[in-house]
């Protein structure tokens, strides 16, 4: 019956309806895999925009006031001065948009939007998300928000320029670009909540028969917990954004004290009585958990990749799950560590320091368990594995630098210096982005049905890994030297002048780092069309997505699925092969073993002859 219906549909679609189905298929798609790809390509597009902004910033820091090479003269006069050098106004917009784009339009959409969408239904054996339509809306809010945010370029006063943290009063007395920033973030938050609700429902309700919660791969656990954080935290950000919008637009005073002296704006309508610190509390109540939104899915992906390519069960699976839950819970009560020097009561500094030190513990647990996973493994260093291995090491550096900042007296000095910039990039680039690289290569065969080019993958990894460390490690030293973040020209300060050679070194490394990303894009795009055709399970992995065809059709699986065991039964003595998929029943396993033994025996027979 169904077959008949679908052929009828095809017949109908034959004529004029073709363009419509193109739109349904590629644009307003409700298929989770297509939505994942849409998130991926949009986010990678933004990665290059944000990256270009970073390079402009770096150019100015290394060579203050010097024209941007090649393109400086071509840029509009609102961005550069007569010689083609970055202006201070544009610089401030650049650093604001760089941070905002990388966090909200690159890392979150890649980890949550792309991997969440692609991997969740496949890894739990579902045919799609619980709410495909919501899923589509969740995606489309994202480019819409991106366009709104970037349209500040065409407004008087340019884009938002109060930093990605947008502290009022600065952000409440700002140009139109700031208002657009607020609206855009609000929409992205809306998109996140839609996604979050969808993941939670899907994971709770649509697991394949036999799959218990503790049979779920770490990626699924991580996205599940992340989705819970999203649904708890994002409404708080939304309320804070609404208040900031009103302070900007309607002259309310949620964050505004009375009698501010502001030249650029008539403050007589602002009654005052508000509290600038209120914004910081609300913002960090969301944004500290948000940093875990940006790392937990990465940790999940890395756990899966490490186990697969170590050919070993994930070490301490339950401890890993509990560590994620602990991070999520503690993550809600540490926001004040961003505010040690903000003027809040120092007693709160003490309590937030203690909770922050405690949250480092589950991070340590995860690190040790990853080491345990590799211990006595049989590691295969393909591109996903290289990136995952780098993740662990970089995350250790990011976690350790976190300890410096968690220690309040030390933070007095390093707060708002390049030390923080170093920390952020070790966790978000060294951590999240390397996890994303691992995941992109790991699931590429499933997504596209083809293999990526291993040599290009490795080349990209090594150039990125080396230039990443050359770019961001010295930033800790700049921070120790006292260089403030978000300054346009460090040479204004005598005590920062000795650091100029280091700033130049960083900029050169950053340029290499930026251009190396073209290798990634070339590899992905070229392989998408011309790569070697991928098998169903090229990595010999256990989890469910590898039971589907590559790429999976609409509806995902062509076989009935039933889950018999956990996701990490690698090198199990029960199986002759070194992996044991979750879906293989005990009877099938016996047959498989039998077949395999016969094949081995035949090979042994055949060998001496050949």
């Amino acid at each position: 019956m169904e077959a008949v219906l679908s052929t009828e549909k095809h017949a109908l679609a034959g004529g004029h309806a073709h363009s419509e189905s193109f739109i349904r298929h590629y644009i307003f798609s409700t298929d989770h895999k297509m939505i994942a790809k849409q998130f991926m390509f949009t986010a990678i597009f933004f990665l290059f925009i944000g990256g270009a902004f970073a390079l402009f910033i770096r150019w100015q820091l290394a060579y203050p006031g010097q024209p941007i090479p090649l393109i400086g003269k071509l840029l509009p006069s609102t961005w550069v001065n007569g010689q083609g050098a970055v202006t201070a106004e544009w610089y401030t917009q650049l650093l604001t948009m760089h941070g905002t784009i990388m966090i909200f339009a690159v890392i979150i959409p890649l980890l949550v939007g792309t991997f969440g969408n692609f991997a969740i239904p496949l890894m739990i054996g579902a045919d799609d998300m619980a709410f495909p339509f919501l899923n589509m809306v969740s995606f489309w809010l994202f480019p819409l928000a991106g366009i709104i945010m970037m349209s500040g370029f065409f407004m008087e006063g340019g884009m938002a320029a109060a930093g990605w943290t947008s502290y009022p009063p600065l952000s409440a007395i700002a140009s139109t670009g700031q208002t657009l920033w607020i609206v855009a973030l609000f929409l992205i938050g809306f998109s996140s909540i839609l996604g979050g609700v969808n993941y939670i429902t899907t994971i709770l309700n649509m697991r394949a028969p036999g799959m218990k919660m503790f049979d779920m791969p770490m990626t699924v656990w991580a996205v599940f917990i992340t989705a819970i954080i999203i649904t708890i935290g994002t409404p708080v950000l939304a309320s804070a954004l609404s208040m900031l919008f009103m302070d900007n637009f309607l002259s309310t005073s949620f964050f505004m004290p009375a009698h501010l002296t502001v030249a650029t704006r008539d403050m007589s309508r602002t009654a005052g009585g508000g509290q600038p610190l209120l914004w910081q509390h609300l913002f960090w109540f969301y944004s500290h958990p948000a940093v875990y939104i940006m790392i937990l899915p990465g940790m999940g992906v890395v756990s899966d990749v490490l186990a697969t390519f170590s050919r070993k069960p994930l070490y301490g699976y339950k401890a890993m799950v509990f560590a994620i839950i602990a991070i999520a819970f503690l993550g809600i009560i540490v926001w004040g560590h961003h505010m040690f020097q903000s003027g809040m009561n120092p007693l709160l500094g003490t309590t937030f320091m203690v909770s922050t030190m405690v949250i480092a513990v589950p991070s340590a647990i995860k690190t040790f368990n990853w080491l345990g996973t590799m211990w006595r493994g049989k590691m295969e260093f393909v591109t996903p594995m290289l990136n995952a291995v780098a993740f662990v090491s970089m995350f250790v550096i990011g976690g350790l630098s976190g300890i410096f900042m968690a220690s309040t007296p030390v933070d007095v000095f390093i707060h708002d210096t390049y030390f923080i910039v170093g920390h952020i990039h070790y966790v978000l680039f060294g951590g999240s982005l390397f996890a994303i690289f691992a995941g992109l290569h790991y699931w590429f065969p499933k997504m596209s049905g083809r293999m990526y080019n291993e040599r290009l993958g490795k080349l990209h990894f090594w150039i990125t890994f080396i230039s990443f460390n050359c770019t961001f490690f010295p930033m800790h030293i700049l921070g120790i030297g006292g260089m403030m973040r978000r300054i346009y020209d460090p040479t204004v300060y005598d005590f920062l002048k000795p650091f100029q050679p280091m700033n130049e070194f960083i900029t050169i490394s950053a340029i290499v780092l930026g251009f190396a990303q073209f290798i990634l894009v070339y590899n992905l795009l070229h392989s998408w069309f011309y790569g070697k055709k991928a098998k169903r399970n090229p990595w010999r992995a256990n989890t469910l997505e590898w039971q589907a065809p590559s790429p999976p059709p609409h509806g995902n699986f062509d076989t009935e699925l039933r889950v018999y065991r956990g996701p990490y039964e690698y090198s199990s003595p029960d199986s002759v092969q070194d992996y044991l998929p979750q879906t293989v029943s005990p009877e099938e396993l016996q047959e498989q073993n039998e077949r395999h033994r016969q094949r081995l025996a035949q090979q042994e027979h055949a060998q001496p002859v050949a």
């Binding site: 009375a258 003027g343 211990w375 295969e380 403030m484 300060y493």
Partner: protein, 272 residues
């Protein structure tokens, strides 16, 4: 790496730097430990032949427990050790008695400093009087405020004396950063925060703004001059004397405080 720290000249800065050093060595030790193990694993546990099998093992609860407990103890120790120093720097009941009180006001993009004048008393201030000509909002009717002395981008203090700063901002959030004193404190409009420090060495140091306050943020630089007590007294007498002379001079135009090398804002209206 810590050699890159700017020279510390404050009393509590030494404790801070010790803590910094301690965490640094602990971090380096952990980093080396983890990465040596890591690299050893990477070298040793590669798959060399097809058919190689890994060790089938799911984990060990005793190990899990110990690598939970050890970091927990270490990090809590760091928290409590840090807190002792934090309290002594920041808690108001632990602030030593100040020898000099100065008010500091951040304004996009400069720092205003206010000394109490020869009477040693700050004039009353109120937010509604605040404006570009009266950054501190000194009440024009309060006689104590007449001789208050203000400077822009220059803070002069005596050596080996505890200086207490009342800090605020008149527009957006700034951050009062004295790298050599290991001091950083946000200046928040509508709110006054106390910061104290104590320099053990004379000299000229830099003051920066550490919180993004607009596109001129990087220009918000001031100079901190630490003088010997006698030089400081001489300097202060000079400023105060000049100010008094200007106050007593019968003139209709607001007197400009005869500042040393900086353009000072008029401290108060000269009418007697």
């Amino acid at each position: 790496m810590l050699d890159w720290l700017p020279e510390n000249v404050s009393v509590f800065g030494e404790g801070v730097d010790h803590l910094f050093t301690l965490i640094y060595y602990i971090s380096v030790a952990i980093f080396i430990l983890v990465n040596v193990i890591y690299v050893a694993f990477i070298i040793r546990y590669r798959r060399k032949r097809k058919g190689d099998r890994a060790y089938y093992y799911h984990g060990n609860n005793l190990l899990e427990f110990s690598w939970t407990a050890l970091p927990f103890v270490l990090f809590l120790f760091l928290a409590f050790y840090s807190d002792g120093i934090w309290e002594s720097i920041k808690y108001s009941d632990k602030t030593p008695n100040p020898d000099l009180v100065v008010e500091v006001m951040g304004q996009t993009y400069m720092w205003h400093f206010r000394y109490p004048g020869s009477d040693g008393i700050f004039g009353r201030r109120e937010a509604r009087f605040m404006g570009t000509t009266n950054p501190f909002g000194i009440d024009p009717d309060d006689p104590n405020g007449k001789d208050d002395y203000t400077t822009i981008n220059n803070l002069t203090i005596p050596v080996n004396k505890t200086v207490l700063v009342h800090l605020s901002s008149m527009d957006v959030i700034h951050s009062f950063f004295l790298p050599n004193m290991r001091v950083k404190q946000d200046a928040v409009p509508g709110q006054w925060v106390d910061v104290w420090f104590n320099s053990v060495k004379t000299g000229k140091y830099e003051i920066a703004c550490a919180e993004l306050c607009g596109s001129g943020h990087y220009l918000m630089r001031a100079v901190l001059e630490v003088k010997s007590q006698s030089a400081f007294d001489g300097w202060l007498d000079e400023q105060y004397g000049g100010l008094l002379a200007a106050l007593n001079a019968p003139s209709a135009v607001p007197a400009t405080a005869p500042a040393a090398q900086d353009q000072s804002a008029p401290a108060a209206s000269p009418t007697h």
